[in-house]
């Protein structure tokens, strides 16, 4: 027993000292280490789930998509070539799976806003945090899914243009252009003076 315990602690010590880096995780998962896969899920589920949720706007569908993503990641990790970071690759798999799921579920897709929202005098857009959250989510729903993905990667995930391009397979210029189009669309639909309607009527 003592020997076993000693062996265990010797194995565990470096892990406690520092979290395994991504490359090490990948190597261990490919070698069949289930605990390493657990670490990967625990490390990344939140960011990937938030992204899927942003694209799909539906909790259960996002859960399904994330299951699909992690199962795919476990089975196809060998095709991760290490040219991008692991997180970039995971974002990529997640965006693709979410957009696919969205296509499948088109009929149930979120209602888009009526285009009659004019932008007259812009007023102060302050409010409680909850209101802000609701408005933010409603605004996101006004965007087509592909523009939304760019906006989410920028604003929720904090990625730079280069990295967004790597996730989506776009050039840096195309990322800038999509963000610009997203902002044009958001400015077209959003009118701070009609915030109450946004909160209650949509």
């Amino acid at each position: 027993l003592k020997i076993l315990a000693r062996g265990k602690s010797r194995e565990a010590a470096p892990l406690l000292a520092r979290p395994p880096d991504d490359q090490e995780l990948v190597v261990r998962i490919l070698a069949g280490d289930d605990a390493a896969f657990g670490t990967l899920v625990q490390t990344y589920w939140e960011r990937l789930f938030r992204l899927a949720l942003g694209i799909l706007g539906d909790w259960h569908l996002s859960e399904d998509v994330l299951q699909e993503v992690f199962v795919l990641v476990h089975r196809k990790l060998g095709s991760f070539d290490g040219r991008s970071s692991l997180l970039t690759w995971l974002y990529r798999v997640t965006v693709n799976a979410a957009l696919k799921a969205r296509q499948r579920e088109r009929r149930k897709s979120l209602p888009s806003l009526s285009p009659e929202f004019d932008r007259s005098a812009p007023g102060p857009a302050s409010g409680s945090e909850l209101e802000m959250k609701e408005l933010g989510q409603k605004l996101l729903r006004c965007l087509p899914a592909k523009l939304r993905a760019v906006v989410l990667l920028r604003e929720w995930e904090g990625l730079g243009y280069e990295e967004i391009g790597r996730v989506l397979g776009l050039s840096r210029g195309a990322v800038e252009q999509r963000l610009h189009r997203a902002m044009v669309e958001l400015r077209r639909v959003w009118n701070p003076a009609r915030k109450e309607e946004w909160l209650h009527g949509l």
């Binding site: 196809k76 693709n96 696919k100 857009a125 604003e155 902002m183 400015r187």
Partner: protein, 148 residues
């Protein structure tokens, strides 16, 4: 810099992605153009709203427990392996059939010139390995982003 160009570059300015030279031009334009300054303010507050929309996730959903995911992954692997096995069996049968019919055709065409004979064998041979590729197509398209 005119307003059109400024409007297009505004996202990059807000994200700190402008090259230094362009950033200075932009600064100068905004200094002299109230309309573009107002637009920048609008865009910044829209982004603040979008950021506020990020959901706060507390506990990981039970469906994403690593053990359950591993179980699903292994089951999917086993299913794929058995599907591949049965497809191989079907493909083997089909190949045998094709080969037989190919030989019959070839024998019938024995009197024709040599290129014809080789061409008919070639067609038979190249039709063997199609079905296996279809199998992994969907997953690969998700991984590689080909499905969009």
């Amino acid at each position: 810099m005119d307003c059109d160009r400024a409007a297009r570059l505004l996202v990059s300015r807000i994200d700190g992605e402008l090259e230094a030279g362009v950033a200075l031009e932009m600064e100068a334009h905004l200094g002299s153009c109230p309309a573009c300054r107002a637009r920048e303010e609008d865009e910044r507050s829209l982004r603040a709203l979008i950021r506020a929309g990020a959901p706060a996730l507390e506990a990981r959903p039970a469906s994403l427990s690593p053990s359950q995911l591993l179980f699903r992954s292994r089951r999917a692997f086993a299913e794929e392996a058995s599907l591949v096995r049965s497809l191989k069996r079907v493909a083997g049968l089909a190949a045998a059939l094709l080969l037989t019919s190919g030989l019959v055709i070839a024998l019938e065409k024995r009197d024709r010139p040599a290129e014809d004979f080789e061409a008919s064998i070639g067609v038979v041979a190249s039709s063997f390995d199609a079905p296996l590729e279809v199998l992994i197509d969907q997953e690969n398209s998700i991984m590689l982003g080909l499905g969009q």
